[in-house]
Amino acid sequence: MVIKRIFEVVTNSLLSVHYQGKKLHEFARLFKEWQDVAYLEEFFETHRSDLQSGFYGDMSVEDAVFATLDEAEEFEEYMVDVATEGKKDPDYTLYDKVFHPLHTYDTSTKLLESKAYSGARNSWLRIYAIRIANNLYVVTGGAIKLTKAMQDRPHTEIELKKLKIVSQYLKELGVESADDYGFIDIQNDEG
């Protein structure tokens, strides 16, 4: 997986990686997929056993599709507000507003986890990012996470690989010192 370029989603605050061969950068790709009914129906049908395993209760494919559409829509609206604010004020930052790392799983790589959700129930939407400075994040990817650990399923495991690839890429650009990296996923708790 090769990095083509980086987009600035929120001025001076949120960057997003565009991989070679992909139509969109990751942040844009995620919100497009999370609001694509055909994509979601196929995804939840493929992962029906995870959906109904009890981790998120026992949900039908139809309910899962609509829950995702609702959350993605609400989250995106909030992010548009943040990005709009960022365009007006370059010092406007995300950290205190949107991104909340919750748990440290691996202190050596500062692997943190939080949830990306905009509703009352636990969300399965995840956006993964690397924190490269105070209030500066690079989105490396994201997923619908139906299992506890990222390693549990190929589509979430690959997101770990993407985090490492981007981390290495940034290091080569001089954004260095491994200790400075924090792998996080994000939460919108404004809903």
Binding site: I6, A38, E62
Partner: protein, 161 residues
Amino acid sequence: MKDRQEVLDKLKGVISTTPDPWYKQAKKRAAEKPWKRRSQAVALTVLRTLRAQKMSQKELAEQLGVSPQQVNKWVKGHENFTFETIAKLEAALGIELMEIKPPAKKTAPLEEIFKIDTNTLFKKSPGTALPKSAKTTSTEAKVIAMDSSGYMARNEDEKYG
């Protein structure tokens, strides 16, 4: 942790100068919000029906005489469907995708509709009983229903009248 501006300067060469496409797409999606959920519901019903009937999108496209790309676009849930397309999909899949509810009927008492004042209608002499036929029972008061446009519901009238 490095200073934010210092890090941004290092990334200057790889940060795209073209505008972020997401912002424009997100604004468009927000503008489509008033009708989008209906389109998404249609898309999901079509997809679940295709799956249940073991029918491919390509087969549906052939049946409707449209391209597979067109069907693929419909089932994403971003299409502002026309009634014609909905009707074609319903016929092809043998399902109902949309139900239009008739306007709600407003029921008003007979006296309110016609402003009947039985005392003036039948000028009765003091102490004279009102003719039996002029009495309005509560059942009769309900028989004529009118909808919001003033249409008198004939079937209700016939049913009770």
